[in-house]
């Protein structure tokens, strides 16, 4: 059974239809890279999967449960699916440890000690255990993004959505974040990531989705998509034309 089932999803902002019937099934443990031009609807698709945008038509199901736009269902969904943002969006008024603990204690009602143990474990996993008491503005961009990953992992999601998580980083900081993602992929985490890192997509992903004008234009294993693009649009996007 698919872990995430996206069926005929449509989304419009006013009369600008951004997603025009998206179909995508993601199996447990798959790593999906979404590529495509700016404005093709990549972010919108991820945001729909996380319930940050409400869809106009179609359906999204995660682990068999339908995504419905009421607070109860949204919350259940978000406990299963975490999201990492381009701009990190760490909570500036909380320490690194506080960032990782707050949703556990508030949403899951985990005890403080237990939440802290989990937070330390997750921060160690992204190599930032020693920054537990620092504030976000004392960290580099790469470190902040790794904290954001630890924060999402602490909720023990079954899948992670990553929207251009290295795009706001200085070039020399990109690798440290990608290394963390690579490890997650190796451990079997289901990942859907919008990315411009083609080399990374080729190495790590099980499938690549090329989006064009609100549709899934091409989809397939990375070797095929990158070496043997079928459509003129993808060829142009890859700089082969």
């Amino acid at each position: 059974m698919s872990l995430i089932e996206i069926t005929e999803v449509r989304k419009a902002f006013g009369d600008n239809e951004v997603l025009k019937g998206i179909n995508l099934d993601v199996q447990p443990g798959e790593v999906i890279a979404i590529i495509g031009k700016s404005g093709s609807g990549k972010s919108t698709l991820l945001r729909c999967i996380n319930g940050l945008e409400t869809i106009n038509a179609g359906s999204i199901a995660v682990a068999g449960a339908q995504l419905l736009p009421d607070e109860l269902h949204l919350r259940a969904l978000r406990l299963k699916v975490g999201m990492i943002f381009q701009q990190f969006n760490l909570f500036p008024h909380l320490t690194v440890g506080g960032n990782v603990m707050v949703s556990q204690t508030v949403v899951k009602k985990t005890g403080k000690a237990e939440a802290e143990t989990m937070a330390r474990k997750m921060l160690d996993r992204v190599g930032l255990g020693h920054k537990f008491d620092a504030y976000p503005d004392e960290l580099s961009g790469g470190q902040q993004q790794r904290v954001a990953i630890a924060r999402a992992l602490a909720m023990e999601p079954i899948a992670l959505l990553c929207d251009e998580i290295t795009s706001a980083l200085d070039p020399e900081l990109v690798q440290e974040v990608l290394a963390v993602v690579r490890e997650l992929a190796a451990e079997g985490m289901t990942l859907i990531m919008v990315t411009h890192e083609m080399k990374f997509a080729r190495d790590v992903c099980s499938r690549v989705v090329f989006m064009h004008q609100g549709r899934v234009h091409e989809i397939g294993p990375p070797e095929e998509v990158f070496s043997n693009p079928q459509t003129a649009e993808l060829k142009q996007f890859l700089g082969m034309l």
Partner: protein
């Protein structure tokens, strides 16, 4: 009646200034409490409450404080025979301060980046949890300087209560003027006492603002 020395004038004014301070405190604290209530109505999810808070602000920011004082004074008078000036003064100033504080604070809530809402939502937090743990703590930090700044408006606003007969610094100024026939000296002193009350507040608002901006730049 020129047996009033300068010291007599100043002493009388300073004694009356106590009531300016007391009324300012009452108005500011009362306005803060009512303003908090209105804020939650304004940013909450009940549309009737939102509309109420919006019109409340329109009304109190769109009419003179002096009229609000008159209406409180004569409006309360419709119910009982004798309305003490302090009651009407306190009531009007609390309602007026609440409108401004609510608007200031709403701006601060709006100023919290949209990403903070999204990140906390993606972690499964509900509206109240987002407010309580993520949005308000940040909004309160940025709200401090403008809130301190508004306290200056409250202190100055209390001057108008002299018109409905509350005896504070301005009223004392008029009384002492009538007794001494030295309006230049008396109103000069009155202005200086107000300045002494307000300027430290203005200055601290400025300093707090600057500190906050520096803290922000460290991001």
């Amino acid at each position: 009646m020129s047996d009033f020395s300068t010291w007599d004038i100043l002493r009388n004014l300073l004694l009356a200034a106590r009531w300016t301070v007391v009324l300012s405190l009452v108005s500011f604290i009362g306005g803060g409490l009512l303003g908090t209530l209105l804020l939650f109505m304004r940013i909450g999810k009940v549309s009737a409450a939102r509309a109420f808070a919006r019109y409340y602000v329109e009304l109190f920011q769109g009419t003179p404080l002096l009229m609000q004082l008159f209406l409180a004074f004569f409006g309360l008078g419709l119910f009982g025979v004798d309305v003490p000036a302090w009651l009407a003064a306190g009531l009007a100033l609390v309602c007026w301060s609440a409108a401004f504080l609510m608007e200031i604070w709403r701006g601060c809530v709006d100023a919290v980046a949209k990403g903070q809402w999204e990140a906390s939502a993606s972690l499964g937090m509900g509206y109240l949890q987002q407010m309580r743990h993520i949005i308000l703590p940040q909004a309160i930090r940025i709200a401090v300087p403008p809130t301190v700044g508004f306290s200056v408006q409250v202190v100055k606003g209390t001057a108008l209560t002299s018109i409905i007969g509350f005896v504070e610094l301005s009223k004392a100024g008029t009384i002492v003027t009538n007794a001494t026939f030295q309006p230049f000296t008396v109103y000069g002193f009155v202005a200086l006492i107000y300045f002494a009350l307000c300027w430290p507040l203005s200055k601290s608002a400025q300093v707090l603002e600057r500190k906050l901006n520096v803290a922000h730049r460290n991001h």
